[in-house]
């Protein structure tokens, strides 16, 4: 009986040590820290704006959770590498200015869904993503740079962004 209890203890403690060992030594180790706000300075060059936008797309924006880098079968959302060109095409189809279209896609994504995709993108100026105006402009410039001419700049594009945010607020979107 005593031997049985000892074996039982070994099984319980041993399995727990084994699982902790797998967690410690077989799984990759990294922490996930809350994103920091990126300050965009007035008069920032478009190259720098695009670089900042790229950083946000792959970090605070969490765009990579759904958007693949390259086109792939069964993708949930349009691929980043060609997204500027796709947006330009859709803006023309909808007879919209490119800047308005890009901002609308960020703050009111349900307004227009590209064919073949589902309505699943949240408005990223709202929680939990909560990008600031400057960050939204940087992201928009980066997206434009993927196959279209970059026309968005900071702070010149702020009024167009505000226009789209106001439109979304009036719609009472989530």
């Amino acid at each position: 009986m005593k031997g049985g209890i000892l074996k039982l203890l070994i099984v319980v403690v041993g399995l727990n040590i084994f699982f902790a060992y797998i967690g410690l030594y077989f799984l990759p180790q990294s922490e996930s820290r809350p994103p920091k706000e990126t300050k965009i300075e007035k008069g920032i060059t478009q190259e720098d704006l695009i670089a900042v936008g790229e950083q946000i797309v792959f970090s605070k924006g969490q765009c990579m959770v759904c958007h693949p880098v390259k086109v792939e079968v069964g993708m949930r959302a349009p691929a980043i590498s060609t997204i500027g060109a796709e947006m330009e095409k859709s803006a023309k189809e909808r007879n919209m200015k490119m800047e308005n279209y890009v901002f609308e896609a960020l703050v009111d994504p349900s307004a227009y869904i590209q064919k073949g995709f589902e309505n699943m993108m949240p408005s990223i100026h709202k929680p939990p993503t909560s990008l600031t105006d400057g960050e939204l402009i940087a992201v928009a410039a980066y997206l434009q740079s993927k196959g279209a001419k970059v026309t968005i700049s900071y702070p010149e594009s702020v009024p167009i962004l505000k226009e789209e945010i106001d439109k979304e607020a009036k719609k009472g979107g989530k």
Partner: protein, 583 residues
């Protein structure tokens, strides 16, 4: 213990619960007076290990005990009912033993719950104030239901002997009431978690708009269902561990035979109900995706992607333990040796499925890494997707169901005239459903994720459930009045089989701790997702290794307490035997 009269047991229950609540509120009051005021953003800090780890450990321990005391009554009462209708004393005895377990576990549940009751408002006052503002009335309903549940539980257990015979129906009804109370508590606590993760009924700044909407969140019902099923799986697992403990410490063959049967029954309830878990887990996942696609994807394929590999390791281990247990069990079945030759094939099928299940989608941990390598690993990316994993899960569950079927029929010979046709139908259903599941898995690569998630995966699981229902009905008809080669030799099991049962329960408990962490971690750096930010120094997700160590610590503490419970039951039984009273 059972020599307490039912009416006295009610007084005992009220005193115990009031004492715990009283101590909880008194300590809370004193600590709020004695301790320094919380920081400006509403935090106090637990010494050495920090507030997060402290609450993490206590909350998970409380959740484990709560799962146990809510899960076991479901099948205990069902068994009492069946035992009563069939006039089966053995079923009544096992139902009574299950009831003994959860009744005595109530004290531990309340003790850990009291520590949690003190810890949360002391360490996270601002967050708890917010929760009380939004869901406060539900907390008071919870307290009332807790009293009623405890009283019903005590009365149910302590009146067992007195309410035999013509009062049995009333006693079973009492058990039904106990389960209704348990489910109400489950619904209330799931509403709290649901609000934190998928909030509703409040403005962007957290002002209450509609309390009912704050209760009825996306997560509420699917989480409750998932917990309900998981509680039964977990509760039955602990009961199996208890039986294994009693088998190992048994002093005679009669005890060994009874606890072998109890262990087998509990383990099969646990595994049987676990078959439903992927389905209700899927429903929960769909609701999370519907609430916020980003949260869903972050949980499934973002930072937590590797923990799904860990989950696969754990569930695969559980299935291996179960299959091993069933294969050893063939030794106690007269005629079981005829089926040994199939075991190696089932082992290979399980092993291959396990390997696919374990394949990670990407070896990247962060989005930065994913970007560098082009989102997914070129080789693992194609095997590590849900299309192949779902298929592997279905196939390995099918193999485990077959192990169970083999055990069940191993000591029987069908006598029906259509037995050959029956065997052919069985083979067709097994092969056909497996081929269909694999074909759907392959086709899933060629469609959009929406079609796979919403159409193909449910069909795949549907085929599995349909086939096990067909097999179950077929075997029931085919083996009705079958020739029995010999009765199972309960108790004639090697001791190592019992460690497999313990292994199932330890692994499941660890899995619960990890999944609890993932469910909570899905909110990332939010107390209430998108509404109330976590601004404490703990507002980050730790490494997987760190989370694994905490999960192990929780599981070891839980088993130490459960071991204490098992030991106390044996002590009380011995004391009752010495005193001449029956337990």
């Amino acid at each position: 213990m059972a020599d307490v009269s039912p009416s006295k047991s009610l007084i005992k229950g009220v005193i115990k619960l009031t004492l715990f609540l009283g101590i909880g509120f008194a300590v809370l009051f004193i600590l709020n007076k004695v301790l320094a005021a919380p920081t400006e953003d509403g935090y106090r800090f637990f010494p050495v290990i920090g507030s997060r780890v402290w609450v993490w450990v206590i909350a998970q321990l409380h959740l484990n005990f709560a799962a146990f005391v809510l899960g076991v009554p479901i099948f205990a009462v069902s068994m009492e009912f069946i035992g009563w209708r069939r006039n089966d004393e053995r079923l009544d005895r096992i139902a009574y033993d299950f009831t003994k377990l959860f009744t005595l576990a109530y004290t531990l549940t309340a003790a850990v719950g009291t520590i949690l009751l003190i810890s949360l408002p002391v360490l996270y006052p601002k967050f708890i104030d917010h929760l009380m503002k939004i869901l406060g009335p539900t907390w008071w309903v919870y307290v009332v239901v807790m009293y009623v549940e405890t009283l019903v539980c005590y009365y149910y257990f302590y009146s067992w002997k007195q309410m035999k015979g013509n009062k049995k129906g009333k006693h079973v009804a009492l058990g039904g009431l106990l389960n209704i109370m348990g489910m109400t508590m489950l619904l209330i606590t799931s509403a709290w978690v649901g609000y934190m993760t998928t909030p509703g009924g409040v403005s962007d700044t957290g002002e209450l708009i509609n309390r009912w909407h704050a209760i009825k969140t996306y997560m509420w019902i699917p989480l409750s269902l998932h917990r309900l099923v998981a509680n039964v799986v977990f509760g039955a697992g602990i009961a199996a561990a208890y039986a294994a403990y009693r088998f190992i410490t048994a002093e005679n063959d009669e005890q060994r035979a009874y606890y072998d049967w109890m262990g087998y029954t509990s383990a099969m309830i646990s595994i049987g109900f676990s078959l439903i878990l992927p389905g209700v887990g899927y429903m929960l996942g769909v609701e999370i995706y519907t609430f916020n696609e980003q949260m869903g994807i972050q949980l499934m394929g973002g930072f937590f992607a590797w923990l799904w590999v860990m989950q696969a390791i754990l569930i695969g281990a559980i299935l291996m333990f179960v299959n091993y247990y069933l294969w050893i069990s063939l030794n106690k079945m007269p005629g079981g040796e005829r089926y040994f030759k199939y075991v190696k094939f089932l082992f290979i099928v399980n092993l291959l499925s396990y390997a696919v299940w374990l394949t990670p989608h990407s070896i990247a941990l962060s989005l930065e890494e994913a970007r560098r390598m082009g989102a997914y690993h070129p080789v693992l990316g194609s095997l590590g997707v849900m299309a192949s994993k779902n298929t592997a899960v279905v196939v390995s569950y099918m193999a485990t169901f077959l192990s169970f079927t083999i055990f069940k029929i191993s000591n029987k010979e069908p006598v029906v005239s259509w037995a050959k046709l029956g065997h052919a139908i069985r083979a067709f259903v097994i092969v056909g459903s497996t081929v269909a599941a694999i074909a759907i898995g392959i086709y899933s690569y060629m469609v959009t994720s929406a079609v796979r998630v919403k159409i193909l995966s449910p069909i795949q699981f549907g085929i599995f459930f349909l086939s096990i229902i067909i097999l179950f009905v077929l075997d029931s008809m085919m083996y009705k009045g079958a020739k029995i080669i010999g009765e199972p030799k309960w108790g004639k099991m090697p001791e190592r089989s019992q460690y497999a049962l313990i292994g199932i329960t330890v692994t499941f408990t660890w899995l619960m701790a990890m999944m609890g962490y993932m469910r909570s971690g899905g909110r990332q750096f939010w107390h209430v997702y998108g509404i109330m930010k976590d601004t404490s120094p703990d507002a980050y997700l730790p490494t997987h290794g760190y989370a694994a160590v905490v999960s192990s610590i929780v599981t070891v503490i839980f088993f130490a307490l459960i071991g204490l419970l098992f030991w106390s039951i044996m002590k009380l039984e011995k004391a009752s035997e010495k005193g001449g009273a029956k337990t």
